[in-house]
Symmetry: D2
Subunit: 245 residues, 4 copies
Amino acid sequence: MPPIRVTVWSENAHENPEVRAIYPEGIAACIAHGLTPESGFSTRTATLDDPEHGLSEEQLAATDVLIWWGHRHHHEVADAVVERVQRHVWDGMGLLALHSAHFSKIFTRLMGTRCSLSWRAVGERERLWIVDPAHPITTGLPPFFELPHEEMYGEPFAIPEPGQLLLLSWFQGGEVFRSGCTWSRGSGKVFYFRPGHETNPTYHNPHVKRVIANAARWLARPNGRAAIPSGNIPVDKAPEKIEKT
Amino acid sequence: MPPIRVTVWSENAHENPEVRAIYPEGIAACIAHGLTPESGFSTRTATLDDPEHGLSEEQLAATDVLIWWGHRHHHEVADAVVERVQRHVWDGMGLLALHSAHFSKIFTRLMGTRCSLSWRAVGERERLWIVDPAHPITTGLPPFFELPHEEMYGEPFAIPEPGQLLLLSWFQGGEVFRSGCTWSRGSGKVFYFRPGHETNPTYHNPHVKRVIANAARWLARPNGRAAIPSGNIPVDKAPEKIEKT
Amino acid sequence: MPPIRVTVWSENAHENPEVRAIYPEGIAACIAHGLTPESGFSTRTATLDDPEHGLSEEQLAATDVLIWWGHRHHHEVADAVVERVQRHVWDGMGLLALHSAHFSKIFTRLMGTRCSLSWRAVGERERLWIVDPAHPITTGLPPFFELPHEEMYGEPFAIPEPGQLLLLSWFQGGEVFRSGCTWSRGSGKVFYFRPGHETNPTYHNPHVKRVIANAARWLARPNGRAAIPSGNIPVDKAPEKIEKT
Amino acid sequence: MPPIRVTVWSENAHENPEVRAIYPEGIAACIAHGLTPESGFSTRTATLDDPEHGLSEEQLAATDVLIWWGHRHHHEVADAVVERVQRHVWDGMGLLALHSAHFSKIFTRLMGTRCSLSWRAVGERERLWIVDPAHPITTGLPPFFELPHEEMYGEPFAIPEPGQLLLLSWFQGGEVFRSGCTWSRGSGKVFYFRPGHETNPTYHNPHVKRVIANAARWLARPNGRAAIPSGNIPVDKAPEKIEKT
């Protein structure tokens, strides 16, 4: 079986010293390290500053699953790149949107909604409950796991009703959130996973790493791209002969 | 009960003599006539050529349900107007997308998918089956109804899985199609209804008129706009006191 | 408009003195009192001890919406009555299942799943968040409301993915729960609403009363029963002539 | 990778000479032959006449996916066996319900609906369209395939809204049907696939064989059974300390 090719995209959040202390090589590199060759992955990282944000036609064609982390620079992502990514999702590339990617151009375009929520960044306790323990994305997880310090995201989360709801978060300050949600968009699958504020060491957590690896495996199409067919069917190609009436 | 305020939007398709013979006042006017004051509606029509396409902030604020028919001029609709319409849907305005509006900017933006399909415009027989006879949109319809001459639309229809599937079409030439689909987008509801090729007298059909009137009623929010709340919740406004750990 | 006819069914939980202190007339009567004639309801109550549990064919035929509260006596409900109720739901009667009715025969039969959950009855704080503030069932509610003392129900709740998820609960002890869920079953609609432990005064809470009234309105079919058609279609009644091939 | 263990269950329909001419070894054996060891399957067949219908606790525990074909003898299946099968589905066994199994006890119990439909058994042409070509169950199929002679099943099909709709049927006589539908029930997955009238050679069709093999692979849980956790959480085991208020 060939490896699942994952591109991990992020802004350069580690320009911030507080972030760099937690992720010396950057958030994208930390996430990529969790997707090992032994587990069947090959990875590359890409960032806003790369030519075409590291998401050229060729680079996307060689990507089975795109992982997206962004926060403060959503608006700097070029529309042409966003449209290209969207087309690749429609043709079968998987997309894993992390944390503040809820407001990224690519995620809001695929959802068709505002994707707003309430939030509070004081590093409170989050507990993630598994709603569907039988799903491939939650395989191997305990009934719940905790992150001692995270940003709070609270409902209502303005998304379309998910295809499947997999995780729910409890927050110390009293809120709840749909933290793991799947959707289909054309031939591609999308998964949103909530945790990952840049000043908390969330992507070092083994349960978070497991969700990301499970999701990357689930989002990949084993047979590559499969564009949905469309077009004009002329009358002589109709499956049934059409008699005029 | 105040009337449901419906804006019927269309391109000026009746510039085509073949269309004008069927819809002397235009498609939008024909649809609007079916939504009578006695049934609880007040209507206006709007078109591409109106200032701001007849969809200014004030005009949308006074619209409970927007009905959209477009075919050849989707790209001429200004992006700023599309964004304004999308915002109003998110805040609770209903949207009924008819026939070739599957490729309109507003519909594809709300869906987040390509919305492609296969088609054949030779005026073949279409039979629409009611999948869910208990839904308000299908109330009063027989088990199926027929349109003697229509354009064919065939699967796969590249949409997100509908919230509810209400009608399925059978075509003489051998295809099938999901012809009546609902979705939620923010506080607003969306319904797609397939029939309505401009050179067929489809919007004169009483069953089609009934679906449109039922849908307009179902799409309207009885209590007006209701934006989904969002924003920062400061720590002293958290529902629970957050103790540092 | 004729009133919505609601039957409120419960076990006689107020045989317990602690419960009787909270609900002197019983839980069913308290719930029924919240559905006033001025709001468009007519109500009756029924209980396990009534002939046919108060759910005869005639009584169900005169019921638009059945509200069900049960806890310790699920197994005493006669199978014949459960099958009758299920048939009426399939034909269009609405069902509102409250709290421990998650394990009632009628709810588990309509779901087709185990409907299990985790629980803890120590009277802790529950906070219910509105996930979809635009739905008729959540109309008029604040972003969240609290119940100072309730039994905890925790995920995973073994239900089929809801048609729509409307409310989520946060619990003081650290759990979360999908507390307001809708489904369609045949021509009938089902709503599950979590709160209502018998030794807490939950059904006196104005927000809880509002959810129940909103839900009863939403569950009622304005046009009465509508059985889904079925049966053999002989060849001479086929919509299209079938030529042998 | 260990093989996927499939049990193919059927009534002994080949007691009918017309059926025996098509399926000399029976329907179950024909289906089982399509699930080859080279494709990663191990199979056994079971029937109504076997002790416990061939579905003892041990036999089910050794089954990853159960394929069910039944038609005239649904009522002869013992309730205790149906409950056992349902429990295994809830704990992760996959179920593929074929054709007239729409009225089997196990399928209707898992759905919670009447599962009725309209039908006509005159051997007309059926054309199955792929609605979602990216799903594992439809992998490798052309945009549509035809069965020259089949029983017609028509909408409305009284099922809960499917998790995903994968195939739609067009019938010569003018009807349409949702022919491939998925649902989740507890830890188990369910797929309904329409074709397979016993007097037509449907299960010899290579496209039908492919759908069944794809479905069997999709329905199997790679990690075996995974019961959904539930139970009482005592106060000293609550994730958060509960202070009395």
